[in-house]
């Protein structure tokens, strides 16, 4: 961990806010560094354990995936049901390491952006650097706050999985922290 309390103390809370539109360009991805906080606006897709299993199965069978991997950012989450009249319930990130064993094939197929919480395996970090991709952490346990960042949500695949189905979501000013950058540097 690159933690230096003395250096850190000098930073103030007026640090420049980095706002980005999705999908990120190659150049934007390579300019971001581990430890930076960013606010994302655009399209993301939700997927967690069961959706990953199914996507891998489809890759093995040579089928087309339900989401356009190269532009898709995947958000690892499983929201609570929405109240009637609300778009979405609580929607914070889930632990990313559970997806580690299923991530490299997706990166090889063009996935460039993942958002979750907690560290990634060395294999995933290596593949992120090779593919010039990016892994961001959302703030775990801030599900009500993230609900306020979602402006649209619709299921796109595996609806039988309910909370674990793949949804297309539109986000606005979605806060996240660069945790593995495109050179393979990590914040953890």
């Amino acid at each position: 961990m690159n933690y230096n309390p003395i250096k850190e103390t000098k930073q103030d809370d007026k640090e420049e806010v980095i706002r980005l539109n999705l999908p990120l360009t190659d150049r934007q991805r390579s300019s971001l560094q581990a430890g930076q906080m960013v606010y994302l606006t655009g399209t993301l897709y939700t997927a967690r354990d069961q959706a990953h299993l199914r996507m891998l199965q489809e890759i093995r069978e040579g089928k087309e995936l339900p989401i356009p991997l190269s532009e898709a950012g995947i958000y690892y989450c499983g929201p609570t049901p929405a109240r009637p009249g609300n778009l979405v319930g609580s929607i914070g990130p889930t632990t990313s390491s559970r997806m580690d064993k299923m991530t490299v094939p997706l990166l090889e197929k063009g996935l460039k952006l993942m958002i979750g919480k907690g560290k990634r395996s060395p294999e995933v970090v290596k593949a992120i650097a090779e593919q010039k991709a990016l892994y961001l952490s959302a703030i775990g346990g801030a599900g009500a706050l993230y609900a306020g960042c979602i402006t649209a949500m619709e299921p796109v695949a595996y609806e039988d999985l309910m909370a674990e189905a793949v949804y297309r979501i539109e986000v606005k000013d979605f806060p996240a922290v660069v945790s593995v950058d495109s050179s393979g540097n990590t914040i953890f």
Partner: protein
């Protein structure tokens, strides 16, 4: 003799599940605020500020604090002079859970361990009933998310490992868990008893009000030391590095066998959702 209808228990379990899912407790709020004022990293302060804002929004808009609305633990301490009437108490508790998770739009996370088939109503709760003297009745409910539950550990240390062995084990557990259990953490520790007893004490310890220390002078010192050393790991809020990794350490102990030293560590995320009431 005092008579309690189990329908009262059903209603209270439901009420507590709903309150805990949406409302950050006052002691937790104060603790996070204190953490924010002490944190000296930019990211750490941002995280703590967002968690406090999350608490406000959750309560205002009745959106669960965290999407992992947890596995439900229910502890019932029943006076020996209390007589329960009405439906079986286990069914009453589960009915309360069922109603809360359905009517409150909470996430149903309970599945069969092998087939992974969802039970669809977040039951069964884990229920523990303990008999105590008198005619009082006390109900405690904990909603436990699994990001943090997955990072808990039990170890059967050898007696010679002593206090230093316990300290190392706790610190290793916190370090290895990193950002996964959503720090800053509330750490429950059970020392002694047996494998299962230590784990039960570690979980029950999470109910202690934040800021309170063990009445045992030695454990009190050990709690202070562990909290300090946990913060010195610099795992930091959400594992991003920083000063505030732990909010509290609570230790319970119980006599053990001369050949053993069981220690359990239960990590709870910042989303500590638990409450105790008297019935």
């Amino acid at each position: 003799m005092r008579i309690i209808n189990t329908d009262l228990i059903r209603g209270k379990v439901k009420e507590l599940c709903l309150e805990l899912a949406y409302k950050m407790s006052d002691d937790l709020k104060a603790s996070l605020e204190r953490g924010r004022s002490q944190e000296c990293t930019y990211l750490g302060r941002q995280v703590l500020a967002m968690l406090l804002e999350n608490g406000e929004r959750a309560e205002e808009q009745q959106i669960p604090l965290c999407q992992d609305t947890g596995m439900v633990f229910v502890y019932l301490e029943l006076g020996q002079d209390v007589h329960l009437e009405g439906p079986f108490v286990g069914d009453a508790v589960n009915q309360g859970v069922r109603e809360a998770y359905e009517e409150g739009y909470l996430r149903k996370s309970m599945v069969d361990p092998i087939t992974r088939a969802n039970t669809k109503d977040n039951t069964p709760a884990q229920i523990q009933i303990e008999m105590v003297p008198g005619d009082g009745a006390r109900l405690s409910v904990l909603l436990k998310g699994f990001g943090s539950e997955n990072m808990g550990r039990v170890r059967m240390l050898t007696p010679s490992a002593g206090v230093e062995g316990i300290v190392d084990f706790v610190l290793d557990t916190v370090r290895e868990a990193g950002g996964n259990p959503c720090p800053p953490l509330v750490v429950g520790i059970g020392i002694g008893g047996s494998m299962d007893k230590s784990a039960a004490m570690a979980k029950k310890a999470l109910f202690r009000p934040l800021g309170e220390r063990s009445p045992d002078p030695f454990l009190k010192e050990l709690e202070n030391r562990l909290l300090r050393e946990i913060n010195e790991t610099h795992v930091g809020p959400m594992g991003f590095g920083g000063e505030i990794t732990g909010l509290e350490v609570f230790i319970e102990k119980f006599p053990t066998h001369l050949a053993g030293l069981p220690v359990a560590v239960n990590l709870n995320c910042h989303s500590l959702r638990r409450k105790t009431i008297e019935l």
